[in-house]
């Protein structure tokens, strides 16, 4: 599965997972971050599904955090981006940058 191309939303998720501070990188934080940055509503289901796919592709990893009092003792899943994830994100950026350069150079 590794090395598959990313969809647009997956790419955004992958970037958001890097942008959110590591120890807070939960589904809720990623969702909130994306809504803030993209200024459009993002459903929780889409975030879950996207992160599932990224995990399957080996781009992110998730671990269950400690139980906290705020969440009624329920544990929170924390995501971190793998080396493969970072590489895929850079690849995506490289492609985009190359195209932009061509556009602006014209």
């Amino acid at each position: 599965m590794k090395g598959e191309r990313l969809g647009e939303f997956e790419e955004l998720l992958l970037l958001a997972a890097q942008a959110v501070p590591d120890e807070e990188c939960s589904v809720v934080e990623i969702q909130q971050y994306l809504e803030r940055v993209t200024e459009r509503s993002v459903s929780l289901g889409a975030v879950y599904a996207g992160l599932d796919r990224l995990e399957l592709k080996g781009c992110v990893r998730s671990t269950l955090g400690e139980a906290t009092r705020q969440r009624g003792g329920k544990r929170k899943r924390i995501f971190s981006v793998t080396g493969e994830g970072k590489r895929v994100a850079r690849d995506a950026r490289r492609v985009r940058d190359a195209i932009w350069r061509t556009i602006e150079g014209q």
Binding site: V28, L44, G45, D52, R53, L56, Q70, G72, R75
Partner: protein
């Protein structure tokens, strides 16, 4: 603050597995943040949206596959494609089976549509529980005297309706009158349609709450002198007027008058418990009456009168009880009776306007539905058989699929998809069949043009759902088998040589046997009905119907009563006339109902003395009455042989008092409307039995001297030709007195007309029987070909060991015809046992008629043998060398 209930319920419905806690907590976290930032309404809305989005999230990442991502539709498409590939292998057989199912669905749709149009639709009355049909008999003293007819029609004189409408404040009263006439379009000079139509009071539609589908219904402003407006029924509009919407506002000619069409009444309007079919159109009673009066005034010297018996319906106003309304109506009825006959007795009866189906209608409907269901069942058995056979011949394939990892669910789904695909194709084809067949069928069973038979949405849904259910049902047996399939056995087995597992072969035999049983039942029915029609057409009526002509003679204008004896003398002057008489009930001149007297259904005929000689009824004992008897008002009666046997056993009836027949004391006589007879009437003669109408074989009849000449018809026996003599009688009578209006009828035509219904029933039964036979044949061909295919290895071995081609064919024939023989026996026994149900529809034939039973059996056996023989011949043609090649 809690998240919204809807969201929580949605979330509960999501299949989240071991993630539930985590997702719950995340969602709650988000909810609280959003509530703080954007307010509770926003948070609630988004919570529901998120819960919905989570429902799509089903599995943990480990098991999400590409296939999952492509979605269920794609899998179904795959199943369907595969099914098509499988079916292509047996294209011929498959098209036969699907064709059969399509035919059955077509038959079912056609039959149910006609039935739906004929019986199921009501009158279209809104809030029908407050509407009553008001029946009344002036002068009647108890409810028993309301005859069946008046109870249904509840007829009032039109003039009395006016009083009722004015003097019963607790009800809104409407009235209607059923008339018939010719309708023509003003646009083209086409043939007129002869239709039934309703003349109604102006408030009819408003009070009953019937609605128009286009334009408007009639209202009180139409019910004024000089206004000529009509509303056409949707069925008539579709079938006769070509569903042309521009008809609203244009004109139609009814009878001789031109009317403006103001609207189209929906097809749910107008059927009633007494008439199965809605009228073609509605006009106001005022318009109808004006036309009638104008027609009468065209006749010189006549005083125009118009006061028809109308049907009266009333809606009880809100806040009034039914009892209150009934007492008001009774009061009006009593005062009407008082002014009419000087006695204030009148019985009023309220009947619900929308009555549930009458019992005999319900019986007919049930028989009808059962037959249709049987035909569909036959087709269903074929599909099951085909799928079973195909599943059996695919044991290897199914075994392989299971072995390489297909779940049992997937295999079952595949088989179900196949059967659903089959039934969907059949459904589509069946609807096409029904559309083609419906007009022909409507003509065959003589549904009038006013009825729209096209299936409505409700019926279509019933048919569609049941077709798909059939598909599922048919797929159930093979799917069940696949579910329990033994993978290793299936893989190890050589599908060409392994014997069929027993239960499946048994199910198949049961299906074939069942088909044979149903087919023989329907064939016997068809044969019986056909025989009954033939028998009726050539039955011995007990007299010679040839050369008899009847004429009803009404007179118009003042001083109209002419002595029947004079008329008879005039008619006898016609050289072609051999004999002439008068009778109230000449044979085949209409349908009479027997009166129940003393526990038996008895007919009565008041005749002039010459009647017996004219018709040709033989005297067995005693004497006929004479002209003197009639003149002197002698209390005498002649009875038929059958009646004598019923009432007097072995006693000599001559000289006996008729009180024995009436079942009342000798001092009383009979007070029964037109049957009224004084006490002391004696039997003076016994005559031979005759059959005066279909279904009244050897009718027990009382003949009495004719007293009221106005209701009697002229009965004439011609010397040679009925067609010529009819014309001559009319000419002679009109020349004699221009006020006479003779209407001539030929009883033979009456017989032919009475035969229409049985003939139609027989035709229907033959069509259904033929279809059933065809379906059974398709089933046999299908099963035999699969059996031959499966046993081909065995056949090859047998052939190699020296069996002849003939022996092999015989073997297959014997094995496959055994269930047919069993089914045939069961079917025959069932038809013998259930014969009584159809007895009423048979004339001159017993339900155990050996000719019908034998004929049906021969047809079924012949078809079964041919249907088995054709595919069996392949069994004989196996090549033993094939065995050696296979090793």
């Amino acid at each position: 603050m809690r998240p919204p209930l809807l969201g929580r319920v949605l979330l509960r419905m999501c299949r989240l597995g071991d993630r539930r806690d985590e997702v719950d907590a995340d969602l709650l976290d988000l909810f609280e943040r959003r509530a703080r930032a954007r307010g509770p309404a926003f948070a609630r809305r988004r919570y529901i949206g998120d819960a919905l989005s989570l429902c799509r999230l089903r599995r943990t990442p480990e098991v999400i596959t590409d296939e999952d991502r492509r979605g269920g539709l794609d899998k179904m498409g795959h199943d369907i494609l595969f099914a098509v590939r499988v079916f292509r292998r047996h294209a011929g057989l498959l098209s036969l089976t699907v064709g059969g199912l399509a035919l059955a669905i077509g038959v079912a749709t056609t039959a149910l549509s006609a039935l739906n149009a004929a019986t199921m639709r009501g009158m279209g009355i809104s809030a029908p529980e407050t509407v009553f049909r008001i029946a009344s008999i002036a002068g009647a003293t108890d409810r028993a005297e309301l005859t069946e007819r008046s109870r249904i029609f509840g007829e009032w004189a039109y003039a009395h309706y006016g009083r009722l409408a004015a003097d019963v404040p607790s009800m809104q009263i409407v009235s209607s009158y059923l008339a018939e006439g010719d309708v023509r379009s003003t646009r083209e000079t086409s043939q007129p349609w002869h239709v039934l139509y309703n003349a109604v009071s102006g408030n009819y539609f408003d009070v009953l709450g019937m609605r128009a589908v286009a334009g408007r219904m009639l209202n009180p402003s139409d019910d004024r002198p000089g206004v000529r407006t009509i509303v056409v029924g949707e069925g008539f509009w579709r079938n006769a007027l070509g569903a042309d919407r521009s008809i609203v506002g244009s004109s139609l000619i009814v009878g001789t008058e031109t009317y403006t069409v103001v609207g189209i009444a929906g097809r749910e309007n107008g059927s009633s418990p007494t008439r199965h079919f809605p009228p073609a159109l509605w006009m106001t009673l005022t318009a109808h009456g004006e036309t009638r009066i104008r027609e009468q005034s065209d006749v010189p010297g006549a005083t125009p009168r118009w006061n028809p018996p109308v049907e009266v319906l009333g809606r009880v106003k809100p806040g009034v009880t039914r009892a209150q309304a009934e007492s008001e109506v009774s009061g009006v009825a009593a005062s009407l009776a008082l002014s009419a006959n000087g006695n204030a007795k009148a019985v009023v009866q309220f009947e619900p306007a929308e009555r549930p189906m009458r019992r005999n209608t319900a019986v007919v409907v049930t028989i009808f539905v059962v037959i249709v269901a049987l035909v569909v069942l036959l087709a269903c058995a074929n599909v099951t058989n085909l799928l079973l056979a195909s599943a059996a011949s695919r044991r290897r394939e199914i075994g392989t699929r299971l072995a390489i990892g297909a779940s049992r669910g997937q295999v079952v789904r595949q088989l179900m998809t196949e059967s659903l695909l089959l039934s969907s194709i059949a459904l589509a084809a069946g609807v096409v069949v029904a559309n083609l067949a419906l007009p022909a069928f409507a003509r065959l069973i003589q549904i009038p043009p006013a009825v729209d038979v096209s299936p409505d949405l409700r019926l279509f849904i019933v048919i569609a759902v049941s077709s798909l259910a059939i598909g599922l049902l048919a797929g159930l047996a093979p799917a069940r088998w696949a579910y329990h399939a033994d993978v290793t056995a299936a893989l190890k087995s050589d599908q060409t040589s392994a014997p069929l597992p027993l239960p499946r072969a048994r199910l198949r035999s049961i299906l074939i046997g069942g088909q044979a049983a149903i087919s023989i039942l329907l064939l016997v029915l068809a044969a019986l009905l056909t025989r009954s029609v033939v028998e009726s057409a050539y039955a011995d009526l007990g007299f010679d119907l040839n050369r008899i002509v009847t004429a009803s003679i009404s007179t118009r204008g003042p001083g109209s009563s002419i002595d029947p004896a004079t008329i008879r003398d005039v008619v006898l002057r016609v050289p072609e006339v051999e004999a002439a008489a008068f009778a109230t009930a000449p044979p085949f001149a209409g349908v009479m109902s027997p009166q129940r007297l003393n526990g038996a259904g008895i007919y009565r005929n008041d005749t002039s003395p010459e009647y017996f000689a004219t018709v040709g009824i033989r005297l067995l004992r005693g004497r006929f009455y004479t002209a003197d008897d009639a003149r002197s008002g002698a209390r005498v009666a002649v009875i038929s042989e059958r009646l004598a046997e019923m009432m007097f056993d072995s006693e000599d009836p001559i000289g006996q008092d008729m009180s024995r027949v009436w079942g009342r004391p000798a001092s009383e006589g009979l007070a029964l409307g037109p049957w009224r007879t004084p006490a002391g009437t004696q039997v003076i003669g016994v005559v031979a039995n005759i059959t005066p109408q279909l279904g009244a074989d050897d009718a027990p009849t009382i003949y009495m001297p004719l007293t009221q000449s106005n209701v009697a018809r002229l009965v004439v026996r011609a010397r040679t030709n009925t067609a010529v003599v009819g014309r001559q009688i009319v000419d002679t009578l009109v020349t004699f007195d221009p006020r006479l209006r003779p209407i001539v009828a030929v009883p033979e035509d009456g017989l032919r007309q009475q035969l229409e219904r049985p003939r139609m029933l027989a035709q229907l039964a033959v069509v259904v029987g033929a279809i059933a036979l065809m379906l059974a044949a398709i089933g046999l061909v299908g099963v035999t070909s699969f059996v031959v295919e499966q046993r081909s290895h065995e056949m090859t071995v047998r052939r190699a060991l020296g069996a002849s081609e003939r022996q092999l064919i015989e073997l297959i024939l014997r094995d496959n015809l055994k269930p047919v023989a069993i089914g045939l026996t069961i079917g025959l026994l069932a038809s013998l046992a259930g014969g009584r149900i159809v007895q009423g529809a048979l004339h001159g034939t017993s339900p155990r008629d050996p000719v019908a039973l034998v004929a049906a059996t021969i047809v079924l056996v012949a078809v079964a043998v041919v249907a088995t023989l054709v595919p069996s011949r392949r069994a004989g043609r196996v090549d033993p060398a094939q065995l050696l090649k296979q090793g």
